[in-house]
C-alpha cells in the first residue's frame, strides 16, 4: 500500500526520474572515461579503424555534401531577401561564409552523422549484445571495448573534421551558385567578399567542434548498443536513444564551444 501510495505521489515520481537520470549520466561518463583509457592503450586494430574511416567518413560524404550544399543555397537566398531592404546585398557572401563555417556546417554534419552512423552503431552493437557476440569476444581473449568501440571513436574523432571541411566547401559553393546564377552577383566580387571575411579561426573552431561531436556520437551509439535490452524492441529503443541523446548533446556542446570561442 505504501509502495502504491508513493508511486502515485508526483513528487516521488519526479524524484525517482531525477535519480534515474543522474544514474544514467554517471554510467555514460564512466563509459566515456573507460573508452578514453582504452584509446590510449594497445592493442590497436588498424584494419578496423580503416574500415570505420570508410563507414563513417566516405559513406557519409553524399548526405553531408547534399545537406550543406542546400543549406548554403538557402542562406544565400534568405540573407539576400533581408539585406536587400537595407541596400546591403554585398553582405550575402560574408553571411554565407560565416554562418556555414562557424555553425551550419559543423552542426548539420554532426546531426547527419548522428542520424546515419550513431544509429548504425547502436543497432549493430545492440544486435551483437543480444546475440551474445560481445560475450563471445570476451571468451576469445578480445576486449570488446578495444575491438568494437575504440576503432569507432578514433575514426570519428579524426574523420569528422574532414567531413566538416568538405561541408564548409560545399556550403560556400552552394551560396556561390545562388549568388552568381540567381542573384546576379559578379563572380569576382563574390569571391573577393568570401576571401576577405574567411578567417582561420572559423575553420579551426568548426573542425574542433566536429571532433568533439564525433566523440559524442560514437560514445552515445556504442553506450546504447552495449546496454541494449534483449529482443528487437530493445535494439530499436537503443537506436532511437542513441540518435536523440547524441543530437541533444551536439546542440548543447555547440552552444558551449561557441560561448568559449566567440563571446569574449
Amino acid at each position: 500500500m505504501i509502495q502504491n501510495g508513493s508511486r502515485m505521489n508526483p513528487l516521488a515520481a519526479i524524484g525517482r526520474s531525477t535519480i534515474t537520470f543522474l544514474i544514467n549520466i554517471g554510467r555514460v561518463v564512466l563509459f566515456a572515461l573507460s573508452t578514453i583509457c582504452h584509446c590510449l592503450q594497445p592493442p590497436f586494430y588498424f584494419r578496423l579503424i580503416l574500415r570505420q574511416f570508410i563507414e563513417i567518413g566516405y559513406n557519409s560524404l553524399p548526405i553531408v555534401g547534399m545537406t550543406t550544399l542546400c543549406s548554403g543555397m538557402v542562406v544565400a537566398l534568405q540573407s539576400y531577401t533581408g539585406f536587400a531592404k537595407f541596400f546591403a546585398e554585398e553582405a550575402v557572401a560574408t553571411v554565407v561564409v560565416i554562418s556555414m563555417l562557424r555553425e551550419l556546417s559543423p552542426i548539420l554534419t554532426g546531426l547527419m552523422v548522428a542520424g546515419r552512423v550513431g544509429a548504425t552503431m547502436a543497432a549493430e552493437i545492440g544486435a551483437m549484445q543480444v546475440a551474445e557476440q560481445i560475450d563471445a569476444l570476451t571468451t576469445l581473449s578480445t576486449n570488446p571495448y578495444k575491438y568494437l568501440i575504440v576503432p569507432r571513436v578514433i575514426a570519428s574523432i579524426i574523420i569528422l573534421p574532414f567531413l566538416v571541411l568538405i561541408g564548409d566547401i560545399t556550403g560556400v559553393f552552394g551560396g556561390f551558385i545562388i549568388g552568381i546564377y540567381k542573384l546576379n552577383f559578379n563572380p569576382a566580387s563574390y569571391i573577393f567578399f568570401i576571401v576577405q571575411y574567411l578567417e582561420k579561426i572559423d575553420v579551426i573552431t568548426g573542425m574542433i567542434k566536429a571532433s568533439i561531436f564525433g566523440f559524442l556520437i560514437t560514445i552515445m551509439g556504442c553506450y546504447q548498443g552495449f546496454n541494449a535490452r534483449k529482443g528487437a524492441r530493445g535494439v530499436g529503443v537503443a537506436t532511437t536513444n542513441a540518435v536523440v541523446t547524441a543530437s541533444i548533446m551536439i546542440l548543447l556542446t555547440n552552444y558551449i564551444i561557441t560561448e568559449i570561442f566567440f563571446i569574449n
Binding site: M128, A131, E132, T139, L140, T142
Partner: protein
C-alpha cells in the same frame, strides 16, 4: 579414471537485486571428464556458466581453475586464463560480419597474433574435425543452417586447443538427427581430445550421451550429483521429475 580436479567451485552465490539465482553452488570437475549440469529453464544454469567463465562477477564464492581462484584475478590475468577456455554459446554467437573461416580463426588471430594464411589453414582443419569441408570456409554465417552454425561454433571453441570447453545448451532448437550429430561431435571433441568439459542443458537425452557425471541445479543449489549411469536410481524426487518430464512431483 583421473582424480585430478581441474575446476573446483565452492559456495558460489549470485543474486540480481532481491532474486537469488545461485545460492551456494559446489561442484568439482575432473581432468578430461565431462560434467553436465541439468535443470529446468530459469534455474540459473547460464548464470552459473557465466560466473565460471568470468562474464558475470559472483557475489561470493570460489572458482578454482588448476588450483587458482580466478574470481579475484586482475583483468590481464583473467584474460590469460580465458585462453584455456573454449565456449559454445546457446545461439552460436558467431560474428555475422566475418566469413566462416574468420570466425573459427578469430581467437587464433587475436590471441596468438599469427598471420592470416596460417590461421586459415588451422581453421580448415578444425572445420574438418566437425565435419565441414573447405567449401563452406568462405561462406557468410547467414548462408548456413542452424546445425551448420552450431558446428562452426564448435570448431571455433576448439580452435585454440583449449584445456576446458563450456557448452551452453548446445542442442537447443535443433532437430533430433542434428542433435545427435552435435552430441557425437561434442563427445569426440572432449573424450578424444581429452578436454575437460562442462555442459549445461535441459535436454536429458544429450546429457546421457555426453556426460561422465551429471549434476542437477534446483533453486540455486546442486541437489544431486553422480555418475551418468546412476541418474535413474538417484532417489531424488526432483531429478526423477526432471528426467521423466513430469508436470508435477510424485
Amino acid at each position: 579414471m583421473t582424480n585430478i580436479i581441474k575446476l573446483r567451485i565452492r559456495n558460489l552465490k549470485k543474486s540480481f537485486g532481491s532474486k537469488v539465482v545461485l545460492d551456494g553452488v559446489n561442484l568439482d570437475i575432473y581432468e578430461g571428464k565431462s560434467l553436465v549440469v541439468i535443470g529446468a529453464s530459469g534455474t540459473g544454469k547460464s548464470v552459473l556458466l557465466k560466473c565460471i567463465i568470468g562474464l558475470l562477477k559472483p557475489d561470493s564464492g570460489v572458482v578454482e581453475i588448476d588450483g587458482k581462484n580466478v574470481i579475484s584475478l586482475p583483468s590481464y590475468e583473467r584474460e590469460a586464463c580465458m585462453r584455456k577456455f573454449g565456449v559454445l554459446f546457446q545461439g552460436g554467437a558467431l560474428f555475422d560480419s566475418l566469413s566462416v573461416w574468420e570466425n573459427v580463426a578469430f581467437g587464433l588471430i587475436a590471441d596468438r597474433d599469427i598471420n592470416r594464411s596460417t590461421a586459415r589453414s588451422i581453421a580448415l582443419k578444425k572445420l574438418a574435425q566437425v565435419g565441414l569441408n573447405e567449401d563452406v570456409a568462405n561462406l557468410s554465417i547467414s548462408d548456413l543452417s542452424g546445425g551448420m552454425q552450431k558446428r562452426v561454433s564448435l570448431a571455433r571453441s576448439i580452435a585454440n586447443d583449449p584445456k576446458f570447453i563450456f557448452f551452453d545448451e548446445p542442442t537447443t532448437g535443433l532437430d533430433p538427427i542434428m542433435t545427435n550429430i552435435i552430441n557425437k561431435l561434442i563427445v569426440k571433441c572432449t573424450r578424444d581430445l581429452g578436454i575437460t568439459g562442462l555442459l549445461i542443458t535441459h535436454d536429458i537425452g544429450s546429457a546421457r550421451k555426453i556426460a561422465d557425471r551429471i549434476a542437477m541445479l534446483y533453486h540455486g543449489k546442486i541437489i544431486w550429483e553422480g555418475a551418468v549411469n546412476k541418474i535413474d536410481t538417484s532417489g531424488n524426487k526432483y531429478v526423477n521429475q526432471f528426467i521423466n518430464g513430469e508436470a508435477e512431483l510424485r
